[in-house]
């Protein structure tokens, strides 16, 4: 990096290792807290951890959308969370109003219906997300980065209000056609079917994504553009199309995330704001731009959130979830801006 060495008090502290020391001390405290909680109530601890795993999987699907777009455009796509919420509401319409799935539907119909919904929503929202890029961000490629970021914030509000206009302020939840009964149970440790369904959808989607990015020509183009846009343009890669494809994939991931979210929780027009921020934190935690980092970060955040809301010994509780998640975000950006798996960027250096 060509920037002159700007030494600040904090930089000096960082070099002297005090900041790192504080960071490790914080980590150690969290470790002690987890261990004590585990010893006191082992069964609850594992049950809570399973909830964290499930939620983390959902966050991961959304976080991947942020990280894909950031990797290629260095843009925090604020509207992503709201696209997720809109996708959830539309999938409610598809599942309940169009397919009419309910608790009495037979297993085959449920599986078929879910796969159909998944397909429809993923295709639809890949188009929506690519359109957002085309309309709002493409013209700003030459503009300063903040201009695009501000536009993304505006876009987020527009998408949120589209959801509001169509679906109003009410909460939507689907009937429990996937039973909440025990799927796997060892003693008092249980894992319900609707949580298992989340993993059954998430894991294949992740495998598909990995295959796409690693093996296909378009995936290679994506990685090339993310690495060096100009060089890839010189090599004959269609940069605009590659960016559109990236947004389309991010939209499809948001769509699948919305469906698995709906299996467990209810949602309304503004669900996407908070979840989007959590997912973004996950992406930063893992190292923004890094795909496996996003999933790892999402699992960590999922665990932290579940432990905070589910454990009993010295636990702040759900009133503080937002503060904790954003506290983590701030701490990471201060202590390790490149994230768990990321590389140092000029922003963090």
């Amino acid at each position: 990096m060509a920037a002159p060495a700007v030494t600040t008090t904090l930089d000096r502290l960082r070099k002297s290792g005090i900041v790192a020391l504080i960071g490790y001390a914080l980590l150690a405290l969290v470790g002690v807290w987890l261990v004590v909680n585990f010893i006191k109530t082992p069964t609850e601890f594992i049950n809570v951890a399973l909830i964290g795993l499930t939620n983390g999987a959902i966050f991961g699907l959304v976080a991947l959308g942020y990280t894909l777009v950031y990797g290629i455009l260095q843009l925090i796509n604020f509207a992503h969370g709201d696209v997720f919420a809109l996708a959830g509401l539309v999938s409610f319409t598809v599942i309940v109003d169009i397919l009419g799935l309910n608790a009495d539907t037979s297993l085959i119909a449920v599986v078929g219906g879910m796969l159909l919904t998944l397909l429809v929503i993923m295709v639809l929202f890949s188009i929506v997300n690519a359109t957002i890029e085309l309309v709002a961000y493409r013209r700003l490629r030459r503009a300063p980065r903040l201009a695009a970021l501000i536009t993304a914030v505006g876009m987020s509000f527009i998408v949120q209000n589209i959801s509001l206009a169509i679906y109003g302020v009410g909460f939507y939840s689907i009937p429990s056609f996937i039973p909440r009964s025990e799927a796997i149970g060892i003693g008092n440790i249980t894992y319900s079917w609707n949580k298992l369904a989340v993993l059954l959808i998430t894991i294949p989607v992740l495998i598909l994504l990995t295959w796409f990015v690693r093996e296909t020509k378009q995936g290679k183009a994506m990685r090339a553009v993310a690495q060096d846009t100009e060089a890839s343009a010189m090599m004959g890669i269609n940069v605009n199309r590659t960016i559109s494809v990236t947004f389309a994939i991010a939209g499809a991931l948001a769509g699948s995330a919305a469906i698995v979210f709906l299996l467990q929780f209810n949602m309304r027009y503004d669900t996407g704001f908070e979840l989007g921020l959590i997912a973004f934190t996950a992406a930063v935690l893992g190292g923004i731009g890094n795909l496996s980092g996003a999933v790892l970060g999402a699992l960590v955040i999922g665990f932290i959130q579940a432990f905070n809301e589910g454990l009993t010994w010295y636990t702040p509780g759900s009133d503080w979830t937002r503060t904790i998640v954003f506290g983590i975000l701030i701490l990471i950006l201060v202590f390790r801006p490149e994230g768990l798996l990321g590389e140092r960027t000029p922003e963090g250096a």
Partner: protein, 408 residues
């Protein structure tokens, strides 16, 4: 300073005359607002004096935000935190919140036996400003090293944390700091006490018959002070350093601008005005409630800055008053008018107000990024480009982003 002011007065031409005329008209507003309401077609769209107070308070915050975003180019998505800090400072030092103590200093219109800390609101405004500036520094110190979008996210994080801390702050190890979701109410009123009363000024605004107009005039004075400070700062050494950082951080550092100190000042001063505005507003509303401080307010203020023109004081004034008007009265009035004229029940602009602000942001960024009243320098930056890492541009041959060169 006096000489340069005289010079400016002499060389500025008609601009200064228009400004003086506008200020006089603004001060007389409560006197003729009533007759404006009687105008045939436009009358319903004239904001009441009460609404004007709110519009001015938000404009003041927008001008504070403009110093951070417009001058120094640091995108702050959590400005609402400063508004909250100001409002709660007023609530702590001018209400019955801490009724375990009784302390009065210049309080007006209330019994001296009333428990709680009751300082004069004028003093509280200053305290709120300084306290909020301190918070700005505390937020800034660890985060201002980060550039661009990372900074935006961190400020957003603080903007979300502070309201939640406020909401949960009714039991800080057994101590009721913020009274939780109920908020703190009532908050003392500004006023001039017995001394002022003998001079014909109101003893306490809230108890005065002309409550609205006194709040209005005070808000206007605060706004004028903010604008004055903003203009002076822009042309000062510090302001030029901000603009240098905005245009090219690396070059600014190479020329000897201390980055951290300059940025922290931008944060502190921007926060100061947010805090004063927040404290004044909570005194006007006579309460500070956690539900008032949410992310949308930050975006709303940002929208004012963008609509007016980043870095342009007159633009932000216009943008702030315009959007403030739409927010307080305009959208509701327009909605009611359209509904009664056409019978369209679905036409509810207030429900979609943040969608409308979002649309304004996107349209402005796409079509007129320099704002309604652009600042000359900022427009040139947008046209000619600056060394802020731009997106890669496939249409311009040889465009190379900083990011690429830095990573290689």
């Amino acid at each position: 300073m006096t000489a340069s002011f005289r010079e400016r007065l002499l060389t500025s031409g008609p601009g200064i005359g228009v400004a003086i005329l506008l200020i006089v008209l603004a001060f007389l507003y409560p006197k003729y607002a009533g007759s404006l309401n009687d105008l045939p077609a436009l009358g319903d769209f004239i904001p009441s004096v009460d609404s004007m107070v709110i519009m001015i308070v938000f404009t003041m915050m927008a001008i504070g935000l403009n110093m951070v975003v417009g001058y120094a180019g640091l995108l702050d998505l959590g400005y609402v935190a400063f508004y909250a800090a100001g409002a709660y400072t007023a609530a702590w030092f001018a209400s019955q919140q801490f009724d375990q103590w009784t302390f009065h200093f210049g309080s007006v219109g209330i019994s001296k036996e009333l428990p709680g800390i009751h300082l004069s609101i004028w003093l509280v405004l200053a305290i709120a400003g300084c306290f909020t500036a301190l918070i700005g520094i505390l937020i800034g110190l660890p985060t201002l090293r980060l550039r661009g979008d990372y900074l935006a996210i961190v400020t957003l994080g603080f903007g979300e944390i502070i309201p939640q801390v406020v909401r949960n702050g009714d039991n800080v190890f057994g101590f009721d700091l913020t009274h939780g979701t109920f908020g703190i109410s009532p908050i003392d009123s500004p006023g001039f006490g017995e001394v002022g009363e003998s001079l014909g000024l109101p003893l306490s605004y809230q108890q005065s018959f002309d409550r609205a107009q006194w709040f209005y005039w005070t808000a206007l004075v605060l706004l004028l002070i903010t604008v004055f400070c903003s203009v002076q700062l822009r042309d000062s050494r510090l302001g030029r350093a901000w603009i240098a950082i905005r245009e090219d951080e690396t070059a600014a550092a190479a020329m000897g601008v201390p980055l951290m100190r300059t940025k922290t000042w931008a944060y502190a001063i921007g926060a100061f005005f947010g805090g004063v505005a927040g404290a004044f507003y909570s005194s006007f509303k006579s309460g500070a409630f956690p539900a008032d401080f949410y992310f949308n307010i930050s975006v709303f203020l940002l929208c004012m800055v963008i609509l007016g023109g980043m870095g342009s004081i007159w633009g932000v004034l216009l943008g702030g008053m315009l959007l403030g008007y739409l927010n307080v009265e305009g959208l509701a009035t327009i909605g009611a008018k359209v509904q009664s004229e056409t019978g369209w029940d679905w036409f509810e602009p207030t429900k979609y107000q943040f969608g409308i602000y979002g649309l304004i942001i996107v349209l402005m960024m796409l079509l007129r990024p320099e704002g309604l009243i652009p600042e000359r320098r900022h427009r040139r930056e947008l046209q000619l480009g600056v060394r802020d890492t731009p997106f890669y541009d496939v249409t311009t041959e040889g465009a190379m982003t900083d990011r690429d060169s830095e990573n290689d």
